[in-house]
Symmetry: C2
């Protein structure tokens, strides 16, 4: 690979001249002639700035790490696109990692930052226990912004409006005429699950519906398997719900599949609405009514936030409200078959 010195030699100038020209330094007062010669030489030699050299000198990598619990979650696609788009506009790169791996969490984050592989990180701690050592790293003041999760007193986070998302989903069911509505939620320790619980209950309360008993809120998790278990649990109740809000689209897919097995017809016997949308929701049967959450905007905001933190030291907490959660009505929701309390 060609180095600055090679280009300088070829162009017959000094390395500093080349450096100034090629890194477009604002104060690059250079004659048009030399500039040309430098550009030509760089092109001929196919010059590429060496990452290590630059990083070593400047103590900056212009790379931000993004670590999420599960890379292959369809929900993550939009997040990533948002993150990459924002990064590109700021002339940064995104380095991907995942935290689902046991040790990976705190350790990987510590390594990436400690070894100077990234300037900052965007991390989503999964539903499980926060990775060991996360607390220390956060406390160390490293430029880390948390997405869709909170950690004790850590400031620097961007959150989806899960309260609103769950509220919209619940309201939809209420508008359909449902009264006995359940929530199949994420694990108890999950922050997002708590938020969705809040939105769910507030929609109910605002509609003048009694808050449902505890049995109407499962806390099983966000996977398809968890969704299947939730269906069993809910439909085994002596008075089962007529509608269910799924806190996650993957759980909803599992629930739909289990409903087939159990002979429960959706939406005839049970209406299902999910928080989160993805292409998979269009391909279930029946197609899944869902509340689309602004993952793309969250990706952008998160990267914008770390970069701000890295470059200016400013730290913020942000709730993504634009675009706001948006209901996509498909075919998994309908009026309940009979009212819980026959009105006429």
């Amino acid at each position: 690979m060609a180095t600055l010195a090679d280009v300088a030699a070829q162009a017959g100038v000094s390395v500093s001249a080349v450096s100034r020209v090629l890194s477009k330094h604002p104060s690059a007062r250079v004659s048009e002639a030399t500039r040309r010669r430098i550009f030509d030489a760089a092109r001929d030699l196919q010059y590429r700035p060496n990452f290590a050299g630059r990083a070593l000198k400047s103590a900056r990598t212009r790379v931000v790490g993004l670590v999420v619990p599960d890379l292959t979650n369809a929900l993550f696609a939009e997040l990533l696109r948002g993150a990459e788009d924002e990064a590109r506009e700021c002339d940064y790169m995104v380095l991907l990692g995942r935290s689902d791996n046991l040790s990976a969490g705190g350790e990987v984050i510590g390594r990436l930052i400690g070894e100077g592989r990234v300037d900052g990180m965007v991390v989503q701690v999964g539903d499980g226990v926060p990775p060991a050592g996360l607390g220390e790293i956060l406390a160390s003041g490293a430029p880390i912004v948390l997405i869709n999760s909170v950690y004790e007193g850590h400031v620097g986070s961007v959150l989806l409006d899960d309260v609103e998302g769950a509220r919209r989903a619940t309201e939809h069911l209420i508008q359909c005429g449902h009264v006995r509505i359940a929530l199949a939620n994420g694990l108890r320790r999950s922050y997002t699950a708590r938020q969705r619980g809040i939105g769910f209950r507030s929609a109910l309360t605002e509609a003048g519906l009694a808050p449902p008993g505890r049995a109407y809120e499962t806390r099983l998790g966000y996977t398809a398997t968890d969704g299947r278990a939730a269906l069993r649990r809910l439909m085994d109740l002596s008075v089962p719900p007529t509608g269910v809000v799924m806190a996650n689209v993957n759980a909803a897919i599992g629930l739909l599949a289990e409903a087939r097995v159990a002979g429960i017809r959706v939406p005839r016997d049970l209406s299902v609405v999910s928080v989160h949308d993805s292409w998979t929701a269009e391909n279930t049967w029946p197609p899944l009514t869902a509340v689309r959450m602004p993952f793309y905007a969250m990706g952008r905001a998160a990267v914008r936030a770390v970069i701000a933190r890295i470059e200016t030291g400013v730290t913020t907490d942000e709730l993504i409200s634009d675009p706001s959660p948006h209901l996509v009505v498909r075919e998994s929701t309908a009026r309940p078959r009979r009212q819980a309390e026959p009105g006429g």
Copy 2:
């Protein structure tokens, strides 16, 4: 962050001693006493080797890039696990990228290697046109191994046994008694699609079945939408198939959804089997019969191959045959309702 010099000062030794000890250099002839002091100092100072410093000096990053068309494809989960496991064992890191982004392909690969951000790459070119500039990079002799794709005369690839995968899927349908079997394949230019076509036809031929007309093989692509289109195309035929081999699980999901809309009952009216398996296949209705492909092994093999290439210069082409493609029978396949040619 603490540097080697900091550790040296704290331990009262020279930087070179510290370097030798901490990088476990085999020829580290060091007294036990100094070794202790160095380790202690390093721990106290929370020393982390600086990535840029090391990379600059050694001209090696111990990072391999992995670029795939779509990170969020569930199929990719296993691939990634395999790649990471192998990398960890070899003391490498994996840097993820995606090639679905227009310019991303050749450009991103060229950058990563050219700027010295990675020592080598594992790349899967998608179904579409190979990214501009890929040819040059490959020809330049950079350590790149292609997965599930081939490129002209490039040597250095690891491939799934798609021929065998498609063959097993097809044989299953034949064993169920199907005679009119279609293949919903990937795009014509895709290498994997060609392989699957070969396996499909060879199973048919071996069973003594006439190769189906061209109309029985669609070349629409691997997405859910493509699968939906394939169903329409196939079932609109004057003599529609009774069974279909889907070249991809996502397309199968789309096809199943479209079948509901079209009033085609699976497996009663149409049996469906897919090449590839994933958690989503368990949650369709009916649950999807699929041939599980060894993505994990491919991930490991691919990373092993680049590292070999980087460190020893040895280049290989490899077909992953262990474990071999494995049929998982679920409920989307059954005997055809009536034989095409009534036998009795």
